[in-house]
Each structure stands twice: as C-alpha cells, then as structure tokens.
Symmetry: C2
Subunit: 210 residues, 2 copies
DNA sequence: TAGATTGTTAATCGATTAACAATC
DNA sequence: TAGATTGTTAATCGATTAACAATC
C-alpha cells in the first residue's frame, strides 16, 4: 500500500513481530505496549514504535496496541493474509521434510503440488500434496499460476531449474540449493536458506572464549 | 585470537567470504582483489577491506589477497579448521534430511551420533551415523564431550530437551524447533533456523509491486 | 620504476535510541 | 482529571563508503 522505502532491517523484523503477536493472541492477551513487545523480542521500545510507524501508527496513546488488530495489520503488511500458490520442486529428503512438517498456510501460501523426475514418486501424494512429473510443469503452469517455487533440487540442477521457473513467471524462489542466483532484472525475488552459513556462525561463536 | 569486539554484521558475512573463497580455490584462481571479491558477493571493496582489517591485514599492496591463504585465515577465524563434536537430537523428517545431505565437516563438526526415543530407530544407522537411545544421552556425554547439539525434535519437546543439553555442557545449540530459547547466562550459544521467517520475508517481497 | 591495491583514517550515511509533546 | 503510552522529532551511535598514503 504505502510505497515508501522500508529498510531490510525493518522487514526482517516483521516475521518476529508476527510470531510474537500470534503467541500473545493464542494466550488470550488483549493489549500490549511497545515496551512489553520489546522485552519479549529483545528489541527496544523505541525501535518497536519506529518500526510500526514506517507503516502508519497502529496504537493508541495511553493504551498501547490491540493484539488482534496489530497482528492483523502486520499480517497484511507481510502479505500472509493472502493465499498464494506455491509448488515444491525436488522431493528428496528436505522436500519430504517440508511436505510433512512445514505449514505453508501460516506463511500465506497454499502448496498446490510437488514436482520430481523420479518414476517411483510421480503419482504419489505426501500429506495431501500430489507429486507430479517435472516434465509437465510447463503444462501445469498454464492452468495454475505459480507465485512461489520451493527449490529443493540437488545443487547441480539448481541453475537450470531456477531458470525454467523464471520462464514460467514465478514471482519468488525459496532457495534451499545453496547455489546463489539473482533474477532481480526479471523481478523475481530469491530468498536463500543457507544451512551451512548458519552453522558456521554458531561455530564462530563457540570458538571464542566467553 | 584477537579479543576485540566484532560486529554481528561482520560475523554474518564471514561464511559468505568462506564460501566464495572455496569456490575460487576450486576453480584454481590464485589471487583475488577486494574489488573482485566485492563484486562477486554484492558488497563494496571498502567493506571487504574493512571486514578483513577487523582481524588484521591479510593482503599485500599492489597484489591483493592470495586465495588459499585468505581462505585458510577465514576458516581459522570462523573455527571450521577445527573438528568439534556434534550430535543430532530427534530423527524425524528434518533430522533425516540433515543426516543424509548435510556436510557437517565443512562447518567444522563431526556428527558423532544421533538420538531419538523411537524403538524402531534406535540401533539403526543413517549415512554412517548411529541412532542411540535418548535415554542414554547423559551416559554418552560422560564419554564424549558434546560441543554442539542439532535440535530437530518436535516443538513441544524443545524446551525440556534444550535444558537437558545445557545441563550436559553443550557449547551451542543449532535450533530448528522454532521455539525461542536463551541460555546466554550459561554461556550456551543458540543459532536459530526459522524457515517460516524466511518464507514470510519472501512473501513480503512478492507482495510489493515492483 | 610505474601501476596496482592494500590498510586505515576521515566523511557520510543510516539505524537506533532518547526525549517529549500529543492524547487516549 | 491523572497516568500511561503513543508517534515523531532530535540526538547519538555505528556501519558503510570514500579517499589516500603506504608499499608491494
């Protein structure tokens, strides 16, 4: 809605707010102040108010924020109130894990289908999601517009598969392949999940004495 | 070694340098300049030189950096040149995926064992890693000191399991449970992998017109 | 030597924190 | 009304970028 620039640092905090507010909501809390939110999340109250004011004020002086309505606002800003189409490409171990355990709906997506090249997998279903032949994805994409592709193929197929998905008009790629890719010029967003980077950071931290 | 404060922003870039340098090494490149490194990684040359100078200078005026020796230095700084003990707790789908596909050694760890409570899994091996009875982990820890625990248990068991691991003296927890935890006061580092946060950021990005 | 590129200092830019008037 | 807490402006802090002397 508001088209002014939002810093990536603010954007990366939005899911934290969202998660925290959902928990407050679940535990029946009705109102929350910037200072309580800050303490829970390890931010400062100032920062919390600054962040929210990027999108307009959601609170009330002397009262704070209504948990439900703030959660809704944040959900709208992130876009998780919508339900977009996702497909998963590559049903290996990680693909399996995501199909079994990951709640796409909480993130604003419906996982419509999975794709693989393995004869043994094609035609089967995991957790209600059908596994289709990767060879038919172009055909599939004519019927159903794919908003986001979850890329869990082996790294040697990452580049070509991503290229193919971009051709199909996906808006975003959730990239688990550890292969860096950039389709900025095509307007396709890539969000990387680099397990190794994460573990290396932990390695660094435990390597310092403290 | 140098005990001065290093900004978390610098630390989060270290694995990127490491990855990039390993690729350069693999493709046989001998020397690299801050500007080439910067271009590859999407940083600026200034930033690259500033980052390295946090740890002392590794380059040579007029030449740049020797790829092999810089990669080694970065590896030492991160601590991936060491080989520390890791165990995996909770052999569900995600645990399976990590056991099958993830290269712990590249991150400075040897995965010594996995633990679960399932009778069907205990005693079996995945990818050369034995699955042991979670009931025996205290005993196990007397023999082998656990540096890092990979926490892939269902979220309802996250808190108690983490607590138990901290008691056993782990130095770090690689946390896949989506349950926030803090053992700062015990000197235990926690590195979180939040799939949902990552996908929500992608959701935000594709929700903006661009 | 001349050209290249570092390491470092200074300048700029942006993000966080503090402060406070507005107001529920 | 009095107390609480926001939204916003100003101050501070830290990170990035620019510039350049040092030197390989």
């Amino acid at each position: 809605m508001s088209e002014r620039y939002i810093s990536p640092l603010v954007i990366r905090r939005l899911p934290k707010y969202h998660r925290c507010l959902k928990e407050l909501e679940r535990s029946g809390v009705e109102r929350v102040s910037s200072s309580v939110l800050a303490e829970t999340l390890g931010f400062t109250a100032s920062q919390v108010r600054q962040d929210f004011s990027c999108f307009g004020g959601f609170g009330q002086q002397g009262y704070g924020y209504n948990v439900v309505s703030l959660r809704q606002k944040i959900a709208e800003i992130i876009g998780v109130d919508k339900c977009r189409n996702a497909v998963l490409i590559g049903v290996g171990n990680l693909g399996h894990a995501l199909l079994h355990n990951f709640d796409f709906q909480k993130c604003g997506f419906e996982l419509r289908a999975a794709f693989d090249v393995s004869e043994a997998l094609i035609g089967t279903s995991i957790n209600g999601v059908e596994i289709l032949d990767m060879g038919n994805i172009e055909e599939y994409a004519k019927e159903t517009s794919i908003d986001v592709a979850v890329l869990t193929v082996p790294r040697q197929f990452a580049k070509e598969t991503a290229q193919r998905l971009v051709e199909l008009g996906v808006r975003g790629i959730w990239n688990f392949t550890n292969v860096d890719m950039n389709f900025e010029e095509k307007g396709v967003k890539v969000e990387n999940v680099h397990f190794a980077d994460s573990l290396k950071i932990l390695c660094y931290e435990i390597s310092r004495e403290n």
